[in-house]
Every structure is written in structure tokens, then in C-alpha cells.
């Protein structure tokens, strides 16, 4: 069946071994006028090398200050079906497990109410329903809440949809229950998620261990990363099995074949803190020097496991470059136990938000505020004690803001006495 718009350029993207979104949308298009016009506008963009979407304006559902991204085509004359093309961010279930039942229901619901296109998932983690009109928003929201038990995710100067790695659900290394934590935070802070109350967006992401499979350290204002503070558990027999070539090193990640394994070259010498020793029979780890980089564990997963005194390192401030340049999150709590109901953590979070809301400028992310007012001010506001673990290096410039409280007489000079001692 011929589609409304010829798409010679897009058609080139049907070739090749990687799944083609063009083939997919073309398959959908006969059922969806929006898909047809979307293919048209994409083809136009491919020809002109310019996008054809305008700013959003304020669209949303009643009582929510986020969750919908308004979008209008700048050529409604050519593509009337997508004159409106808003996206709906639906809060995904933590770690994105689904039953086919819930997915089918979602598809059935989305088909009549929008383009039938989605992003599985958005970069933040939401289920993104891509393209609908303003008049569909309220009914869609009604159906989502009533029929699916689902709710919108975040957008705007809100808490954004939290997300975690799959954690204990399928990973042997997880030191915290990422799903429970993410779900708990999402539920506890529904109001912050749906109603703009912050200077700008705020993101939580939780990874179960330092591998950081949800990239928390790079892209969340508050990054929660599982870790342990006791000893790596060692199964010496399994170590010997790796050395003997009986087990595939690195769980097959570097080739699933069994192969000779030089534990010195592949583990001991690579350990960043050089805190390991292999005497030919037993592996010794000086855990007090280990920085829990996961390398030895990931290379010999059947022999080594994280410790049992688990918790999380809390880091803050990651963000993309706009305005002050990209930041990664920085350690502010080296270790915190992470068990429901996460009271200590939430107390911390609320102190962070209070400080940010009080001091943050419009569109100033937490990381930028810390840059502007200093990590010291942040720590003070959150009742945290400075710790060498918070820095890679102490300062190397001498521009120290000494606390007047620690200086005899504070900031005051006795000018008269000074001039008695020193003639001008």
C-alpha cells in the first residue's frame, strides 16, 4: 500500500542488519495517519537537514506540572495529522520488567489516543508515548490511571522519574535493593515529581554496585551507588579453578571459550591499588586498601563476591553541560546503610532540597549551586562532616575562606592599636 509521502531517503535506512525504525514505522503507518505524516516530516528534515518541530508551550493534565512535552510541527500545512505531536512520559516500573499483559494493554490504549509510536525508553527511564494531540491528554491520563494503574513521569522543574539498575532482581553483585529504593523514593516524592517546586530538574539514579549500570554518576543530581565496607568474599577453590583454566574468566565477557588465565597479568597487576597477592595457591586481598573497583570480582565472578556489610555511597551533582559545563556526581556520603524505610537517606535528601530551593537560581542545577556556593556550604546545610573521601585532592590554591569564629577577634582589627604599633 502506498504511503502518503514518498520517503526515498528514509528508505535507505531499511537496509542493513540493525533493526530499522523506518521499516517499523512504515509497517505501522497504514493504521496511523500520524505515522504517515511523521514519515513525511522526517523525510523533509532529511532533505533540508533541519528539524521541523516548534517549542512546546504549556500543555499538560490538570493538577500536574509535568509529564507531558508539548510539541507542534512547523509545517502543519504539509503534515496536518501531526500539527500537535506531544509526548507523554509514563513512569516505568523500576528496572523495566514487564508482563506481556501490561504491555499489550498499554499498546491498545495508546493506539487510539496517539501515533502508536513510543520510545522504550526515554533517556531518563520513562515509557515515552511519542505524539498525540492536546485533546487526547486528559482521556489518556484517565485511562492510564484507571485502567493501567500507571501515572505520569517527570518533566519541567520537578523531580524526574527515578531509575535504577536491575540490582538484586538478577545481579549477584547488588549491594542495595535498587528496585525497592527507587520505588520507595518515587512514591514518597510523588508531589515533587508532579508539581514544579524546584529551581530546575532533579534526578535520582541508583546502581547496585560500582559498575553503575544505570550511569548514575554521570546523569543524576543524586547518585546512589551500592558498595560494601567489609571484605571481598573469596572462594579459594574457585580461584584455583580459574587459574587452572576450568572456568571461563570474566564470565565469558571477553570470549566464551575456556582459555589459559594468567591471574597475575589479568588481575593482580591490574588491581588499581595493588592490594592483591597470589602465591600460586591462595589469593590474598588487603581489603583495607581495596577501593572496591569490582575488577577482580568481575573477572572471577564465581570466586569473588562483594562483602556482606553493604550499603551505598551517595554522590551528588551530575548533569549535562548547560550552563556551567558537565559534571559528574561527587561523593558526599562515603557510606550509608540503605534499608527501608530509608529514613536517614530521606532526611538527607530533604536537607538538600531545602538548601537548593532556598539558594538556587532559576534553572540552576544542584551541582551548579554547589559550584557557586561551595561544597562547604552544601555540607554544612546537610550536616555532613568533611571527609578526605569527598575529594580526589585537597585544594591547591591558597584562597581559603577561614572561619572568623576560629580567629581571635574574628574579622575585627583594632585599628588604633595597629597604628600605635605601626606608623603609617
Amino acid at each position: 500500500m502506498a504511503l502518503k509521502h514518498a520517503t526515498p531517503m528514509l528508505d535507505e535506512l531499511e537496509k542493513g542488519p540493525w533493526p530499522s525504525f523506518v521499516s517499523d514505522v512504515k509497517r505501522m503507518a497504514p493504521k496511523s495517519a500520524m505515522c504517515e505524516d511523521w514519515l513525511g516530516v522526517m523525510e523533509l528534515s532529511y532533505r533540508e537537514k533541519e528539524g521541523h518541530w516548534k517549542h512546546g508551550g504549556i500543555v499538560g493534565v490538570l493538577g500536574y506540572g509535568g509529564g507531558i512535552i508539548g510539541r507542534y510541527c512547523d509545517r502543519p500545512d504539509l503534515f496536518p495529522a501531526i500539527a500537535h505531536f506531544h509526548t507523554v512520559r509514563v513512569n516505568q516500573p523500576a528496572s523495566k520488567y514487564y508482563t506481556t499483559e501490561v504491555l499489550r494493554k498499554l499498546c491498545d490504549l495508546w493506539e487510539p489516543r496517539g501515533s502508536g509510536l513510543t520510545n522504550m525508553h526515554g533517556s531518563t527511564g520513562d515509557i515515552v508515548l511519542l505524539g498525540t494531540t492536546t485533546d487526547n491528554l486528559e482521556p489518556l491520563f484517565y485511562e492510564l490511571t484507571h485502567e493501567m494503574g500507571m501515572d505520569l513521569g517527570g518533566s519541567g522543574s520537578n523531580l524526574r522519574t527515578p531509575e535504577g539498575c536491575l540490582g538484586k532482581s538478577r545481579c549477584e553483585w547488588s549491594c542495595i535493593d535498587t528496585q525497592d529504593l527507587i520505588y520507595d523514593l518515587t512514591m514518597e516524592y510523588q508531589d515533587a515529581l508532579h508539581r514544579p517546586m524546584f529551581p530546575y530538574k532533579f534526578k535520582f539514579k541508583a546502581s547496585g554496585c560500582p559498575c553503575d549500570c544505570v550511569a548514575a554518576i554521570a546523569r543524576s543530581d543524586c547518585s546512589i551507588i551500592g558498595t560494601w565496607r567489609d571484605k571481598i568474599r573469596i572462594d579459594q577453590e574457585a580461584v584455583r579453578a580459574y587459574v587452572g583454566g576450568e572456568l571461563v574468566p570474566h564470565a565469558g565477557a571477553g570470549g566464551t571459550e575456556k582459555r589459559a588465565f594468567d591471574i597475575n597479568a589479568e588481575v593482580i597487576d591490574l588491581c588499581p591499588t595493588k592490594c592483591m597477592e597470589w602465591d600460586g595457591k591462595n589469593l590474598k586481598i588487603w581489603d583495607e586498601d581495596c577501593t572496591r573497583c569490582m575488577h577482580c570480582i568481575r573477572v572471577m565472578p564465581r570466586a569473588l563476591r562483594p562483602g556482606l556489610d553493604t550499603g551505598a555511597t551517595i554522590l551528588v551533582g551530575a548533569k549535562a553541560p548547560i550552563l556551567e559545563g558537565a559534571q559528574m556526581s561527587s561523593v558526599v556520603i562515603p557510606f550509608m546503610k540503605m534499608e527501608p524505610p530509608y529514613g536517614e537517606f530521606k532526611e538527607f535528601v530533604e536537607k538538600v532540597w531545602d538548601w537548593w530551593m532556598e539558594n538556587g537560581k532559576n534553572r540552576e542545577r544542584l551541582g551548579e549551586l554547589i559550584q557557586r556556593l561551595s561544597l562547604r556550604e552544601f555540607l554544612k546545610a546537610c550536616d555532613l562532616t568533611p571527609d578526605a573521601r569527598m575529594v580526589n585532592t585537597p585544594r591547591f590554591n591558597p584562597y581559603i575562606f577561614y572561619d572568623p569564629a576560629e580567629v581571635p577577634g574574628g574579622w575585627e582589627h583594632d585599628a588604633v592599636a595597629f597604628r600605635q604599633r605601626h606608623q603609617a
Partner: protein, 366 residues
Amino acid sequence: MAFDPNNLMQDRITDIGPPKYDKFFPPIVKENFGKWKYHEILEPGVLVHVSETGAELYTVRVGASRLISIELIREVCDIADKYCDGYLRWTTRNNIEFLVSDKSKLQPLIDDLRSRGNWFPIGGTGNSITSIVHTQGWAHCHTPAIDASGVVKSVMDELFEYFGSHKLPAQVRIALACCLNMCGAVHCSDIAILGVHRKPPFIEHDRVQNVCEIPLVIAACPTAAIKPKKVDDKKSVEINQSRCMFCGNCYTMCPALPLADGEGDGMALWVGGKVSNVLSAPMFSKLAVPYIPNEPPRWPTTVNTIKRIVEEYAAGGRRYERIGDWINRIGWERFFEKTGLEFKHEHIDDYRLAMMTWRTTTQFKF
């Protein structure tokens, strides 16, 4: 009660949040939650996780275009119903994972997936190149300098051999963001593709005071290039073009400052970032190629350049070395030499922390 457009408050449900995650856990996950003992990759794309209870969960990971239709989701559901008791998940990088608790269904699932043309490539585990994290591009956003999905498709087609194999020294994570907002969080990727504008915005003085809040526009500029200005009695702004670095943040605040331009826009390539704390600490991605023009529909220059980088890394990287670790070992002077990329003035930082990137030692290679 049904939805009533004239009474939105009727029966309204709000703030219920997402469904609780464990509603969708397969029984084996519920039972073995927190008890997993080890895992193994059986072949690229196929994992087994073994529990302390002895239970084994098989996962088959397939590459997915992140922009997918409900037709495709339904097809995925058909497959999951057939082999996975209806359970599946998406990964943090937008791949689909079929969760198999009955080992006898593993091979049939794999065979089925392979039989469906290019819809469900199996791979993305271990030292592979897995799906490219990306953003909207021309598909939906208002500020992109490039498309997203088409570039991703073109690059993955070319790198496909690395998706279904473990032959790289370590994993290679590629990300794409279509503008400097970097929704793809490309700033910590082994290889990053970033849409860039190269012309300062032009100013539609007639519209500015109607559609923009001028103080917000001024505050939006990272380099303070924007000042208020009256033009024929209308409140507007002026832009010091030589201070503009084309970030588009003012345009986000003000539609009367468009900067997209078919000939000016294109992409920059970045390398050597990472997120994990394994071996080395997380690293930012660093500029490799300042500019490549938009070349739809297949972006050959971008594709070939990335391929070249990957191949040099594949040849020179040592086991466990991420691209950034490899470059740190051989040095940037060698990276540019080996890849044949040109080192240009754009590579030298000139933003706020620039000084920290200069070479303050005589240690370098000739």
C-alpha cells in the same frame, strides 16, 4: 465510571506512581531475589544467572531501535508469551531482554529470533558494542542539530559485527545526543556523537518581546553573550556573536532566536569517556572530531570515522582496557596519529576549566 471531558475531577486518580516493580517479576526472580550467586555469558547475547538455590535464569538480549511502534511491541509480546511465560524487560540501554526460566525454551527462542530478519539481533553482552543510547533528533525535538535514530541505525549497521561478538578489549558504549543539552548524557561515553550548531542564533526582533522573557534569555547564555537592546521601540536582545558557542540555550528559552541551519549544523565526535568505576574512575568524553556535516540518510563520514576509531582500538587496546584507558596509555598524540584524525584548535579547551587540560609537563611522545 468512564472519562467525562466536562468533569475532569470526577473520579480523578492522581499521584499513584508507577506500578510496583515486582508485579512484573517472573516467579524465578521473585524466588531468587537477592540470592543470585554468579552469572555466565553462554554466547554473545545469552546470559545465565545462577542462584544460591540452584535456579537458573536465562536471558536473551536483543538489540532494539529505541523508537518503536506498538506493532513491534506486540510482536515482542508474542515472542515472550511463547518462550518466556510472558516475562521480559528492557535494559538501561534500551535493549530487550527475554527472560527464560525453562531451559528447554532457550534454543527455540534463539532460533525464532534469528528467523525474523533484522528485527531482533542477539548480542550486546560482554565486550561488545551494545545499543547506542540516544535522543530524539528530528523525530521530535525542537533544538536538534542532527537526527538521532537515522545516525544510530547507520552506525550500528556498520559496527554490527561487534554487537554479536566479544572480540573487543572491553565494552564500548556509544551514545548520541542531538544538541548540547545532551539528553543522551553522552559526556561519559566511550564514543559520543553530538549534534552541534555552528551559527549564532538570528534574532527576530519583531517577536522577541511577545514570545520570550528577556531576563531569562539573558541568564540562559553560558558565556554572557546576550544583552538587552531596543530595536525600533521593541524590547529585544543583541548577541555578541564572537562570544557565542552555539549552545542553543537561548533558543530553548526563546523561539525567536533560531539557530538551526542545514549547512551549518552537523556533529562532533567524542571519545574516551566511561561511567563504571571498574579499574579506572569515571571519565568524561573528549573531543575527537570537531565537526562532520550532516550527511543523511546514511552519514558516511560519521560512520567511517567511528569505524576507524573502533578498529584502531580493537587492534591496539589491551584486554580490559576501555577506549579511554587505551588512549591514556598510548597518549593523545598517538591516538590522533593512529586514527588519522587531525588535531585542530577546536580540540584545545577554552572554556572555564581549560587550564586544567593543558600539558604542564615535558612528558609527551614525539
